[in-house]
Symmetry: C2
C-alpha cells in the first residue's frame, strides 16, 4: 500500500506509559526518538501533557506531563523531520500548562475525548490551535457511541475545529473489519474537509489488521507503537505497519534495532500483548480496566474460564449497567 497522504503517528511513550505511569528514563525515550526519526515516522507523541496540580510528579514519571524542558532533553540538537507532540485529556490540563507553540519544542497536540464531551474537546483543541499548534481530536470508546451522537459530534468538529484529523479510537479492541469500514465511511461523510485517523487496540490480534482496513477505506493518519506496546493488549505494531506501507520514506531497520535494544528487555519487566483476559474484554466490548485489575491479582490472573464466566453472568452485566 503506497499513498503519499498517509502519515504514521507514533504513540509508543504516551500509550506505553499507561502501563507504568510514564516511568521511562530520558535515555530510553531518546533512543526511541532517534529510532523513529531514522525510520521516517511522521509524528511522535512523547507523552501526555497534564497539570502537576492533578498528578503528583513523585508518583508519575516525566511523560505524564511532557514538560517542554523534558522534551528538549530528548531532542537535544538532533535535526529531524518528525513532528513532536502530546496528548491532552479534557479537565486534566490547564491553560497555563500550554505555552505558545513558538516557545515550545512541540508541534502538535491531540485532544482525547468521549463522544459526549466533543463540545469540550473542540474548545480545548481550538485553544491549542490558537496558540499555534497543529491539532487533532481522538474519539475514544468508539464502539460504545451511538451513531446519532457520533454523527452530530463529527459535524460539529467539521464546522468548528480546524483540526488536521479526527481519529477513530477502538479503546476496547472490539471492532471487526466491517465495523472499521463503516466507521471510516461515517467519519469521511461527516468530515469532508478533515482527514480520518485510526488508533486500534490489539485485544483480538486485530490492531494491525483493522489499521489496514481503515487505510483501505481512506484513513490517512495511522497510530502505531513500537513492538505494539500499550496498555493491556497494546496497539498496532509500528514494525508491521511500516513494512505494509510501501512508501520508501520509511525504514524498518531502526525500529527492529530499538525493539532488540530496548523493548525486548522492557517486556520482561512490564506486560502487554495478547493475554486472554484482554481478549475477553475485547470480545465483550468492555473497558480493559477489569482485566488489568485481574492481572494484578496473583491468584486469579490466569483463571481465564472463571473470569469469562463472571463477565458473562447476568449479575455482572447488571452491575455494569446500573
Amino acid at each position: 500500500m503506497y499513498r503519499k497522504e498517509i502519515k504514521v503517528v507514533d504513540c509508543t511513550i504516551r500509550d506505553g506509559g499507561l502501563i507504568n505511569k510514564w516511568q521511562f528514563s530520558h535515555e530510553m525515550v531518546r533512543k526511541v526518538f532517534l529510532a523513529l526519526s531514522a525510520a521516517g515516522v511522521d509524528y511522535m507523541e512523547v507523552g501526555y501533557r497534564a497539570s502537576q496540580k492533578l498528578f503528583p510528579p513523585g508518583e508519575f514519571g516525566p511523560w505524564r506531563f511532557s514538560m517542554d524542558e523534558d522534551v528538549m532533553k530528548i531532542v537535544q540538537d538532533t535535526q529531524t523531520q518528525m513532528k513532536l507532540g502530546v496528548m491532552v485529556d479534557i479537565g486534566r490540563v490547564e491553560e497555563d500548562d500550554i505555552k505558545p507553540c513558538e516557545e515550545s519544542p512541540l508541534d502538535f497536540i491531540r485532544v482525547a475525548t468521549y463522544v459526549k464531551d466533543i463540545d469540550k474537546a473542540i474548545d480545548l483543541a481550538n485553544h491549542c490551535n490558537q496558540k499555534g499548534y497543529e491539532t487533532f481530536i481522538n474519539i475514544m470508546a468508539i464502539s460504545t457511541a451511538t451513531n446519532f451522537e457520533l454523527e452530530e459530534g463529527l459535524r460539529q468538529i467539521e464546522a468548528e475545529a480546524p483540526v488536521t484529523a479526527v481519529n477513530i479510537v477502538d479503546s476496547f479492541g472490539s471492532l471487526y473489519s466491517e465495523e472499521v469500514h463503516y466507521l471510516v465511511k461515517t467519519f469521511k461523510d461527516n468530515l469532508p474537509t478533515r482527514e480520518v485517523g485510526i488508533h486500534a487496540h490489539n485485544n483480538q490480534q486485530l490492531a494491525f489488521a483493522n489499521t489496514i482496513e481503515a487505510i483501505r477505506k481512506g484513513a490517512n493518519y495511522l497510530d502505531a507503537t513500537v513492538y505494539g506496546i500499550g496498555r493491556g493488549p497494546g496497539n498496532c505494531p509500528m514494525e508491521l505497519l511500516l513494512s505494509f506501507l510501501k512508501n520508501p520514506k520509511y525504514s524498518l531497520e531502526p525500529v527492529l534495532q530499538v525493539i532488540e535494544d530496548v523493548f525486548l528487555p522492557l517486556r520482561e519487566k512490564i506486560e502487554w500483548g495478547y493475554i486472554i483476559p484482554y481478549m475477553i474484554t475485547g470480545i465483550l466490548n468492555e473497558h480493559p480496566r477489569i482485566a488489568i485489575a485481574l492481572r494484578q491479582d496473583s491468584e486469579k490472573r490466569d483463571k481465564y474460564a472463571e473470569f469469562y464466566r463472571t463477565m458473562t453472568t447476568p449479575e455482572c452485566y447488571e452491575a455494569k449497567v446500573e
Copy 2:
C-alpha cells in the same frame, strides 16, 4: 458472523507438533479432544499419518503417525459429534498405513500439497476417498504459486477429486486482506462444486484477520488452533475464531479452560507466537525455516536488525534463487 455452512477445523496437535516433533502425551491430547468436543468444534486433526519406515518412532512422538490405536486411546468411550482425522504428506505415507475407514476411528484425511504436486495429491486423496474417508486438499505456500498453475490445479481437483474442501494455506504468513479476497475468489471460481477453506499463519498478526476476510468472501472451512499454537508464529487462535462466529453451537469456555490448564504451562516450555524473526520472514514472503534456525542459535536469536539486513542483502537473495 453466523453462517450455518461454516465448519471449524482444529489442527492444534498436528500443527503444534511441528514445534516439538509431536511429543505430546496421550493425557494432554485427550484434554484437548475433550475441550474441543465440548466447544462444538466440527473437525479435529489429531496429527499426521506417516510411515514409520520413514520417521523413526523414537525421535518422533505418537502424533507424527497418529496410529488408529493411539487415536482410540484418546477417544475412549466418549461420544462426540466432532469428526477426527489426520493430515498426510505426499510421499511420506504408504497405502498400507491407511486402513479402510470402517476399521478406523478416523473420519477424514487431509492431503497437504504444493501446487506443483496437485496430480499426486489428487491420487492420494482419491485413494483415501475410496477407503471411505472424507477428504480435503490443502495447498501450501500459496503466496509463491503463479496464477496460471494454481487455476489449472484447482480445475483439475474440481474435475477429478471428490474432496469436501480445498484450503488456501498461507505457509509464509505473508498475505494481506486484499490478497486473501483475491485467492478466495480464484478458488471459488475454479471449484464451483467444492467448499473453500483457509489455514492462516500468524507471522504478521494477521492469521485471525485473514480468516475473517476469507469468511467474508465465502470460505466455509476454517483452520484454527488453541491459543494459536503452531510452528513459528503459530496459527489463527481458536478462541478468537469461536467468539467471532456467532453460531450458538460453539462454546468458548472449554477452550479458555484448556488454555489455562494446558497451553499456558506448555508455552513456558516450547515457543510460538509473534516473534520478530517470523515477522521478518512473513513480510519477505519466505519460508520460516531460516527464522526457526535463528531462534535455536542462542547468540543470534534476538539479533533482529542483523537478521533483517542479512535477509535483504542481494547476496542472500541470490543464494535463495540459485
